[in-house]
């Protein structure tokens, strides 16, 4: 994954401090040049499955990596329920708490197909910028339940309100373009409220497009983080009992032990970078712990509406659009 020809700038993790490599001037004195940047930038996709996307971004400044992370969290739009019209709520959960819970439900709708609501928009919205849902649930007692039954599922009907009870109300021509599963709630097993016989919910929900900086419910990612690639070097041979002690100081799978009972670094990538080794005087001189200063391991986990790779690309496009709008404004003057 990492290029062996590249001189990796390191940050050493010593017992009580973090020390920069004495030969590393990159952060302070480097002159920015687009061609140099292009030759340095490397991206490697490591994993992309239902748990999320993991990729390496190599050769960038911390501010750039952090900008991408911040953009994914708060500047990539997504759809979420913004208004809740409560016609009836006789459950024990208060109106405002219920409305807040509805807002946090993740929706499948692709935000790129919708427009933002503007200040001129009417309250009902249009088919381009609004999705509408209704939630009508009434809890009743099951007639066929026997006197000796105590399980709520047996004696009550609809006593648990799930996100699956949400019904989509297509506006205008929306029914021809989208499907209920294509815009509705991603999970149908989110518990919204519990009811008892006689309790009733009758809500109309309005979903709009928004940004994570306005409210976290609009954020398209569950998590978007980065960390620096760890590097562990063994300075001397560690064998026998000490080898197992060394192994126990790191995350599982980081240190391996060969047939001669000698420790070796198997895979430093997934180390948690704790400094447990320094607690043991017999082995604390045997390793050098470091991190590669410009090797960022990004982990992006989507809420579900957009794929994580799309979220990253959208984030970079947002930054590009910001730059473009300011360039245009400077040129217009």
């Amino acid at each position: 994954m990492s290029n062996s020809r590249r001189k990796e700038p390191l940050l050493y993790m010593e017992e009580y401090r973090v020390k920069q490599d004495p030969q590393d001037y990159g952060l302070a004195d480097e002159v920015f040049n687009m061609e140099v940047f292009k030759s340095k930038l490397q991206i490697a996709i490591v994993r992309n499955d239902e748990d999320g996307l993991e990729f390496d971004l190599i050769g960038v400044y911390p501010a750039i990596a952090n900008a991408f992370r911040r953009l994914m969290l708060s500047d990539v739009p997504s759809m979420a329920i913004e208004k809740v019209y409560i016609y009836n709520n006789t459950s024990i959960i208060q109106d405002e708490v219920l409305a807040h819970r509805m807002g946090l439900l993740p929706l499948r709708a692709d935000p790129r197909l919708f427009a933002y609501r503007t200040e001129e928009s009417t309250e009902t919205g249009t088919e381009q910028d609004t999705l509408e849902f209704e939630l009508k649930v009434k809890c009743t007692r099951r007639k066929d339940a026997g006197k000796d039954q105590s399980n709520f599922d047996d004696i009550y009907k609809n006593h648990k309100v799930y996100s699956g009870h949400l019904k989509w109300l297509p506006k205008g021509k929306q029914a021809q373009i989208y499907t209920e599963t294509g815009v509705g709630c991603i999970h149908d097993d989110i518990l919204i409220a519990q009811l008892r016989p006689g309790h009733e919910l009758d809500l109309r929900l309005v979903a709009v497009k928004g940004l994570g900086r306005d409210h976290a419910k609009f954020s398209p990612v569950a998590t978007a983080t980065y960390r620096l690639l760890p590097q562990i070097k063994l300075n001397r041979e560690v064998s026998g009992k000490d080898a197992y002690l060394l192994q126990s100081c790191f995350s599982p799978g980081v240190i391996g032990i060969d047939e001669n009972e000698c420790a070796y670094v198997k895979d430093a990538r997934y180390d948690s970078c704790s400094r447990n080794v320094y607690r043991y005087p017999q082995i604390n001189d045997s390793v050098t712990l470091a991190r590669v200063r410009d090797h960022y391991i990004f982990t992006v986990e989507s809420v579900g509406a957009l794929k994580p790779e799309v979220i990253f690309l959208e984030a970079v496009k947002v930054l590009k659009k910001k730059c473009r709008s300011f360039i245009d404004e400077i040129e217009a003057e």
Binding site: F68, L71, K320, I327
Partner: protein, 106 residues
Amino acid sequence: MGALAELAGDEKNGEGSRTFVFMNEGHTLGNALKTIISRYPEVDFCGYTIPHPTEQKLHFRIQSHRDRAVDILKRGLEDLEALCDHTIVTFETEMNNFNAMKVENT
């Protein structure tokens, strides 16, 4: 329009020193742009601040002895835009390679 303004007080300092005010921007753009512009050899000073956390304003300062501050700002924005373009292209090709590999292995 009107998302970019200039702060008063630099009239006597020539064209090289300016503080720009970006509306509705924050650390995301500010820090990224600062790291690029402060690495230009003709720039003496570049820094940014968010004067108040509840105001969506970014104050961006550039001082140079050679060029106009506006031109440096424009160049910085263009470089950041090119950087984004290159990142998008690189990411897309890597993603396509990764998906192709995945298909091969299954």
